[in-house]
């Protein structure tokens, strides 16, 4: 060997570098997202379409003289069935979209072939997943905003509670909803045909969490089961905040379980991710699609 001059790496490890890497993931996701705006149509159509079937059915159930509606108001304590239903369906769509977007974040990268490139860098790997969550929360906020706008304009739905309390409920739900998404995202990488899980989870939310009805109307065993789903508390709390003028104190019975589930699902999400990372390193599953 003649000269053995070894180039010095330009990379500088450290917390700051990891933060920058995380921001780069957020930025990349955002650029790609805004560059292909086909989602705009979906953004305006779905908030309207999905609740519509339930709303129109509820309208028929109300009866021409409003006799059914009177029963509904007596059982639920709600004044307005449209608002009542929209809260439920919005939560369902939120979880559904997170399962597809965040849940398939890694899988899509795997299919694009870029997952390995990311995995080759010395960045904290959980940032890839966390970083995709940022833009997803922004679009979700837009989605909820559009829902409110559409139903406010077209159906004259008005909030009579505090928007802050409503926001608080949704904020408190983020760990649980996204934790589930993280766990799912890791599962999809190693377990093929994981789509079935999306159908399972969103089916459970649909059946048990009271998206169009009060949970109290369910048979006892179903009510017990519903207690184990964070979405139940979210829907209940959001309805209370939006239409019953509930304050923090009234919302605590929903907030506390919601946050506890959040801690649980975030932990599950994180550990599933670690498990997947190790497993994929053994089996080479990262590079396959």
């Amino acid at each position: 060997m003649e000269t053995t001059f070894i180039p010095r790496s330009l990379g500088q490890p450290g917390l700051l570098s990891d933060v920058r890497a995380f921001l780069a993931v957020v930025r990349r996701e955002w650029i790609i997202f805004t560059r292909y705006p086909s989602w705009i149509i979906a953004l305006f159509i779905w908030p309207l379409i999905f609740p519509m079937m339930y709303i129109l059915t509820a309208r028929a159930l109300s009866g021409p003289d409003g006799s059914g509606l009177a029963v509904f108001i007596a059982t639920t304590g709600a004044t307005d069935y449209i608002g009542y239903i929209i809260v439920g369906t919005t939560v369902w769509m939120w979880q559904n979209i997170v399962l597809w977007d965040v849940g398939f974040a890694l899988r899509n990268e795997q299919m694009r072939g870029t997952l390995e490139s990311n995995w080759l860098t010395p960045t904290w790997r959980f940032s890839y997943l966390l970083g995709q969550t940022g833009p997803q929360i922004v679009t979700m906020a837009m989605f909820i905003g559009v829902t409110a706008l559409e139903f406010g304009l077209l159906f004259g739905i008005r909030l009579n509670g505090s928007p802050w309390m409503l926001g608080l409920m949704m904020l408190a739900a983020i760990p649980a909803i996204y934790g589930l998404g993280f766990a799912f995202a890791s599962l999809v990488i190693t377990v093929k045909e994981a789509n079935a899980f999306v159908f399972l989870i969103r089916g459970m939310v649909m059946i048990f969490c009271g998206i169009t009805f009060p949970v109290a109307i369910l048979p006892a065993w179903m009510q017990t089961f519903a207690k184990w789903l964070p979405q139940t508390y979210l829907i209940h709390g959001m309805r209370a905040a939006a239409f019953a003028k509930a304050g923090v104190k009234e919302l605590l019975p929903d907030l506390i379980p919601l946050l506890s589930f959040g801690a649980f699902w975030l932990a599950v999400g994180y550990f599933t991710f670690l498990w997947m990372e190790r497993r994929a390193r053994k089996s080479g599953a990262i590079g396959q699609y």
């Binding site: 010095r8 560059r35 870029t114 990311n118 080479g284």
Partner: protein, 352 residues
């Protein structure tokens, strides 16, 4: 600390055998040991294992270009994947720049620039520049340095005119250059290149080989895999020939060729080749190996024959070939190339 840039010791990688892919469990060894362990945990039947890399030893000096040469499925990519920390070896150890690939994975990643086979390692929906800026952050390069480095690499890879266009509009060659620029971003001391010229046209491949030679001049250690003989011959300081997961020869290109110095290589082009002719010739004592392969779908066959004494072989050869519609089209007696070394070692051609 080792004094080697890349050092691998008895690397082994086993995969669960995938049914229907023809991956056969090698040498029947996994069965007993695996079965015992699984039984302890009350697990289901042991899976058949397929050994993709089977005890690879490598010692690559700083500043060296090392070529890993082998046919499809030899285990080249699997070796690279283990070295760049994407895969964990089943057994054995390896060190990159002195760091253990399992225990010090992040330090290894910092020391490496890797180009994996295939052109899908970058985001097609970002521009070339955006890709590089993104990966610069992921390689932990501070923003000020990153900006300069990205500009520099765009210039160097001749991407300047189209750096702000989406990668999906690039040609294969341009995508490959972005992928290489990405690997060079952190100016890592060691580069792993898995089939870097795959899919490039001859001109682009030549440019890339020039670049690789330059990178060596700049002090990078390079491990590259390829199944192009000329490429390995031209670029590498040393070559490891890998087949069925094992390194079966390791030497300088000259050293490898010297091994079959005294052999004579006869290269024939034959139309209407029949397998039985091969059988007949192989039976001759003077014929060491014979490989026939069809030239892209035509009726023309290329036959590579290694003999100890061509004077004995040639008459017999002519005789058996000019029968039953078989016709000799072209014949050369050539100097041994790396490919001939490969055929000599394995009895089969590098590319089918």
């Amino acid at each position: 600390m080792s004094q080697f840039a890349v050092e691998a010791c008895q690397l082994v990688k086993k995969f669960p055998a995938r049914p229907g892919t023809g991956d056969k469990p090698l040498e029947g060894e996994p069965a007993s040991s695996q079965r015992k362990r699984r039984r302890l945990f009350g697990k289901k039947e042991p899976k058949a294992m397929f050994t993709a890399v089977n005890g690879v030893d490598l010692q690559i000096q700083y500043g060296e270009i090392f070529g890993l040469l082998g046919p499809n499925g030899a285990g080249k990519s699997t070796t690279i994947r283990m070295l760049c920390t994407l895969l964990e070896p089943t057994s054995g150890t390896a060190h990159i720049n002195g760091y253990d690939i399992v225990k010090q994975a992040n330090d290894v990643r910092r020391s490496l620039g890797t180009v994996l086979a295939g052109e899908r390692s970058i985001y097609w929906k970002l521009t070339g520049r955006e890709n590089l800026e993104y990966f610069a952050a992921l390689y932990h390069i501070p923003p000020a340095i990153a900006k300069k480095r990205v500009d520099e690499l765009i210039e160097r890879m001749e991407l300047k005119d189209r750096a702000n266009e989406l990668v999906e509009k690039y040609s294969t060659g341009m995508r490959q250059r972005v992928a290489i620029a990405k690997a060079l971003l952190a100016r890592p001391p060691i580069l792993l290149l898995d089939e870097p010229t795959l899919g490039l046209d001859p001109q682009a491949a030549r440019n890339l080989r020039e670049l690789i030679a330059q990178l060596k001049q700049e002090g990078h250690t390079i491990l590259l895999t390829t199944h192009y003989m000329e490429e390995a011959d031209q670029l590498s300081d040393r070559i490891g020939i890998i087949d069925a997961g094992k390194i079966i020869a390791l030497d300088t290109p000259e050293g490898l060729k010297r091994r079959i110095d005294r052999k004579e290589i006869i290269r024939l082009e034959v139309s209407g080749w029949q397998d039985y002719i091969g059988e007949k010739l192989r039976a001759m004592r003077e014929v060491e190996s014979l490989v026939a392969r069809r030239q892209n779908e035509s009726d023309l066959w290329e036959v590579n024959l290694q003999a100890t004494d061509s004077r004995v072989v040639l008459p017999k050869l002519m005789e058996s070939i000019s029968q039953n519609g078989t016709r000799l089209v072209n014949m050369n007696i050539v100097k041994p190339s790396l490919e001939d070394v490969f055929i000599h070692l394995t009895g089969k051609a590098l590319r089918d």
